[in-house]
Symmetry: C2
Subunit: 699 residues, 2 copies
């Protein structure tokens, strides 16, 4: 792990030792905002998108809204109960992916994983787009910068997340609770106004829409589409099941309680908001120009903004608090994905389905690579869809329902296996009280998850039918492509493992050992490489210079003599201005003539202190190393040379200044200054290379 | 130099050996189109931009046009004559940069270089924008894709140039000659029509513009602005002076002749086109909506298109030939910059003013890095300025005149020094005939370049005054910034050279030599690293495993015993999931306890056959290497392991398959198969590591 530069440090905070990992476990009250912000914040867009679809048919269709909302709530309840079973059975945090893979096999597991990855991306995109929508509802002047705002927020979330779990949690807890409190208060106040005969009136209540004359089939389809969009309220429920390991002990119990709390709050907010929106007459259209009388050059205020304006008054203090809390909680919802996506990525990497780099924790104990990938893809989606919430919603929740359904089917298998296990017990063991309790538990799980599977599968079919032509085909393309890639990656890792598997009958011997030191100019890094090569006491050690111009070669040979370098210098002619090929040829020929020696090529390597310095240093050494590594019997030894600038960062450099004892002796005790010949101070008797007889000390 | 992948090969062609370099030298008839396309093609926009500025005052101002054009021609003549002197005095191809640096010092040289680099970028942008303009004049339907076309052409030019000089030359010669021939013919036919009393009439002759009432000062400024824009005809003259080394012998004579031919042709085309445009009444406005009667939602046809339509008839075959040749030659003009920019970049890199990577030839013998940078910056400029020619012209030619002027002043210094040298000769030598001829030559040069310097300096002042507020301030910002960077780069290289300069009193010795082999799992690459480390006969050799989980460590230890690995295995505990830091700590402690040993860390390095494979391999080894290189006394030995896939590309792999003699013996004679212990066939007596007594052969 490189020492990161100072700028990275300032943005990301100090690195954390892994011991801190335990302290980073979450108590329930902190876990709720982290894992629940996705599910809770979806009430900010789910009722709006539900009503929007019904409104495309005309005002009369809003009469279906309570029934559609009720169906969503029933579904949400069933899913929450189902997931409590899943958490209990698979607390390791793999969630649906693990359930599918263990119970149904590789392909279903990979499909679930792909679906979840796609939906994590869309969670970020939808939440951020909706958050920006709510900001623009309060501050319409920001409308022209919709996409820029969305992209900026994603970048902000990535940076916050790269800082690690605990800081993220503290920063996120307060606004989530403010959101729950303020929206809850708004619902209570709104219901009170309704009961006391003073119902709130939305600003868009005055705008009518043209009524479409629809066939019965079209009406059913419209209601089902509204239900599909309303189902976006269910997203995020699975987040807890993927994050069980982040809870404090008892992990399962705490996770289950958090999930139940989350489900209850989500249902209350969703039902309350939908009710008040219907009573106050919120009319939210897919195309704002369809609202008769509305100036559609202006942005449409979000449903949340219209309801809070109706209850508390436009531009009142509570209105701004609610808009701010909604926007913040939506942005935090995107954060759920930044917990889930990298975690799932690391699980996939561990299982060999994703690049291993996704299983590498950064120095803040987070899976940095996964976070950066998620951020980049989400930014791409937001730009392509111009941060348009209604278009993004069309892609959303398909992935969630794919993984819900497959996960539930996997759970059915899980319970069935348990029940079969008990059936196979001897008759007396089968009849014991504990077995009966266990069997009851298994059967309960089977019933719950069968119900869940049936319902989520039905919804998946509805969602597919109603959304496919509205843009969801893209998701149906992405999931198999991702699955295919994952299976390919897994095959690759399996093949490589097979290739490099241990084998007692293989041996990489040699009949000699020779060291080459590549020399361009005679400078200190070369001296260091020569001294190191001598210390390793190879059978033969000599310097090699690739000569592009004869003058340079002659000058180097003169210097070599003048400074009495202790090893011979060979000049290799290269009229073609190439470096690596002549050396490769030389090594091949040497090995043909001298038997198959191991050839160690010494290359000085500069270590710099600033990123821009690496632009200024030629990559020639690296390119030579890469080509030489293709030659039989060659290994490359990099001898680091720390430039002055690296001292700023690493606190040391490679050389001593003659006569400067502090710089020299203090940090580099092995630096001696008595000429080129290896003269040592009185030292330990195993002073090896000074006694080495094979090294010529004079040319 | 890495073997490039196949895709690169298909686009760029086979690599060229440097021996081919001589054959790539250019005969005059091929050099003319390469170096002259910039200067010649500028007649496609210079007359247009000259008339455009005059027309902003009103139709009456076109009366100034012949005088302004004459001034441009005089200036062009003087500059061509001046540059013939420069070529003679400095044939090495450094051009103005070299002249300024050698005669005036570092700072003027760097300023000239910066100015030229800026103007190379603008040459690409202006030429491509004008080329696209001429294409759209013939095919107005392409108007909406103006920017996309421009960017596409730049990419095309970059690819063609990355293929190397010769192919580029062949492809470029024909259209340049077609351009000269067809535009020349058009001028002859047009003049004939005028003389025979049947003058051509341009399509825009019918459109009037409002006449402005201007003060006398404003009139003068307008005429000077027109002159400034007309001076864009001078760009590209310096190209020959930078490319003398690309000519065949006698280089100087050939380059001078080519320059003179180029100047003559440019003057004829410029004068002829301006004359016919004036007679035929071409009215070209800065803002097409200023043309009274013109439908300004349509693109304005270029001056070239209007003249050729007037002479040969709109949409006639010669019209399309001329438009096509003009467009192609303008795109080829951009190519001049792709010769000049990378060459100047490599000269700057050689002198230490630019990153050394700019002085690295790609495998097609061209300076690939410079070409890619030029292409990217030009694309950026074209996008920002939306490929608008008139706006881009405002930035153009300032850099050229900065370098013209400083170069000419440098030449004055050059001749003065020569004259002083002769004055300092003894009296008799001074009076010899040869000295007198030489003195005459020096004085002739002095007169010519003094005239050149005076004129170009005057024009620079005019250009600065008339263009500064029209966008040229950007160039006046870019030139000092670039100069500052170049000086900074030079300081950096100087400091590093000083830092690493040879010093007899420095020595990097040690009191021992130990090898560590990093082991994660016991696989073949580890076996290879172990065998190589044993071959090098270090004082001590042992394997190190960083243990993140105890199970893995125990399993590895068991395997290590089971396979009877010949070196001891040390387990380093790492509860923090880190790899590099525990090893670094271990090395530091080891060196404290055992004296300052040289520690060689062996790392297996995978060599893969496809770029995507590198995504799938953990960068952990590289990151460990980078961190360990910061530890005192450490060097890193990379032991390559060629995966199967690399065989596709490099023709070999790292291991032999037991029992498969073809794969084994044929490519890897040093592979033996008699168990872990190093048992050798009857081989040379220096069979070193089998005789090494310090290696334990059994655990």
């Amino acid at each position: 792990m490189d020492e990161p530069p100072i700028a990275k440090r300032l943005i990301l905070g100090d690195p954390l030792a892994s011991t801190d990992s335990d302290e980073h476990l979450l108590p329930k009250k902190r876990a709720l905002p982290i894992f629940a912000s996705d599910a809770l914040s979806s009430v900010a867009y789910a009722p709006q998108e539900l009503l929007l679809i019904l409104l495309t048919g005309g005002l009369a269709f809003l009469a279906f809204a309570p029934w559609v909302a009720a169906a969503v709530i029933v579904l949400l309840t069933v899913v929450v109960i189902s997931y409590r079973q899943l958490i209990k059975a698979y607390p390791s945090g793999g969630g649906d992916y693990e359930v599918a893979r263990k119970n149904l096999g590789e392909i279903p597991g990979v499909i679930v994983a792909s679906a979840l990855l796609v939906d994590y991306v869309l969670t970020v995109a939808v939440s951020v787009a909706s958050g920006v929508d709510n900001i623009i509802s309060a501050l319409p002047g920001l409308n022209p910068w919709r996409v820029e705002l969305a992209v900026g927020f994603v970048i902000l979330i990535v940076v916050v997340n790269l800082r690690g779990v605990r800081e993220a949690s503290s920063a996120f807890a307060i606004p989530t609770y403010i959101f729950i409190g303020s929206v809850g208060l708004m619902i209570v106040v709104g219901l009170f106004q309704i009961v006391t005969g003073n119902p709130p009136v939305a600003s868009s209540a005055q705008y009518a829409v043209e009524t479409q004359s629809l066939t019965q089939a079209a009406v059913i389809l419209l209601v089902l589409r509204a239900f599909s969009s309303g189902c976006s309220a269910l997203t995020g429920v699975e987040a807890v099941s993927n994050g069980v390991q982040a809870f404090r002990q008892p992990k399962v119990r705490n996770a289950q309680t958090t999930l139940a709390m989350m489900g209850g709050i989500a249902i209350l907010l969703f039902a309350g908001l939908t009710a008040i929106a219907l009573v106050s007459g919120v009319h939210y259209a897919e195309n704002p120009c369809d609202l008769i009388g509305f100036d559609c050059s202006q942005p449409q205020p979000s449903l949340m903004a219209q309801v809070s304006a109706a209850v508390f008054g436009m531009n009142s203090i509570p209105f701004f608090i609610i808009q701010a809390a909604t926007a913040v909680v939506l942005l935090l919802a995107a954060n759920t994905a930044f917990n889930g996506f990298p975690l799932l990525g690391s699980v996939l990497a561990r299982d060999g389905y994703a690049p291993k780099a996704l299983n590498t924790r950064g120095d803040r104990l987070v899976y940095s690579n996964g976070m950066i990938i998620l951020g980049l893809v989400a930014i791409g989606v937001l730009i392509v869809y111009q941060a348009n919430l209604t278009n993004l919603i069309q892609l959303y929740i398909i992935g969630v329902f794919v993984s819900f359904t497959i996960g539930q089917i996997g759970m059915i298998r899980h319970w069935m296996r348990g029940i079969r296990g008990i059936r196979d017990l001897p008759a007396d063991a089968r009849r014991s009280a504990s077995t009966r309790t266990e069997l009851f538990g298994l059967r309960k799980g089977l019933v719950i998850n069968s119900l869940g599977a049936t319902m989520t599968a039905s919804v998946l079919i509805i969602v597919t039918i109603t959304k496919f032509t509205h843009g969801a085909w893209l998701v149906f393309l992405a999931i198999p492509v991702l699955s295919f890639l994952m299976v390919g990656v897994h095959r690759y890792y399996r093949d490589v493992d097979h290739e490099i598997a241990m084998d007692d009958h293989i041996h990489f011997g040699s009949t000699g050992d020779v060291a080459l030191i590549l020399v361009n100019k005679l400078q200190k890094p070369v001296v260091k490489a020569v001294d190191y090569a001598l210390a390793a006491k190879h059978d033969k050690t000599f310097a090699v210079h690739v000569s592009v111009t004869k003058e340079d070669a002659a000058a180097l040979e003169a210097e070599w003599r003048e400074h009495r370098m202790p090893i011979p210098l060979k000049i290799i002619e290269s009229p073609y201005r190439m470096y690596a090929s002549p050396i490769a040829e030389f090594v091949k020929k040497y090995r043909e003539e001298h038997g198959s020696a191991v050839v160690t090529v010494y290359l000085p390597q500069y270590i710099v202190g600033h990123w821009w310095e690496s632009i200024l240093h030629n990559r020639r050494a690296r390119r030579i190393a890469q080509q030489l590594m293709l030659v039989h019997g060659v290994s490359i030894t990099l001898v680091p040379w720390l430039l002055d600038s690296s001292e700023l960062i690493y606190g040391r450099r490679s050389r001593a200044l003659p006569g400067d004892d502090r710089a020299g002796r203090a940090t580099a005790p092995e630096v001696h200054r008595v000429g080129r010949r290896a003269i040592r101070p009185a030292g330990p008797p195993e002073n090896a290379d000074a006694a080495e007889p094979t090294i010529p000390t004079k040319p």
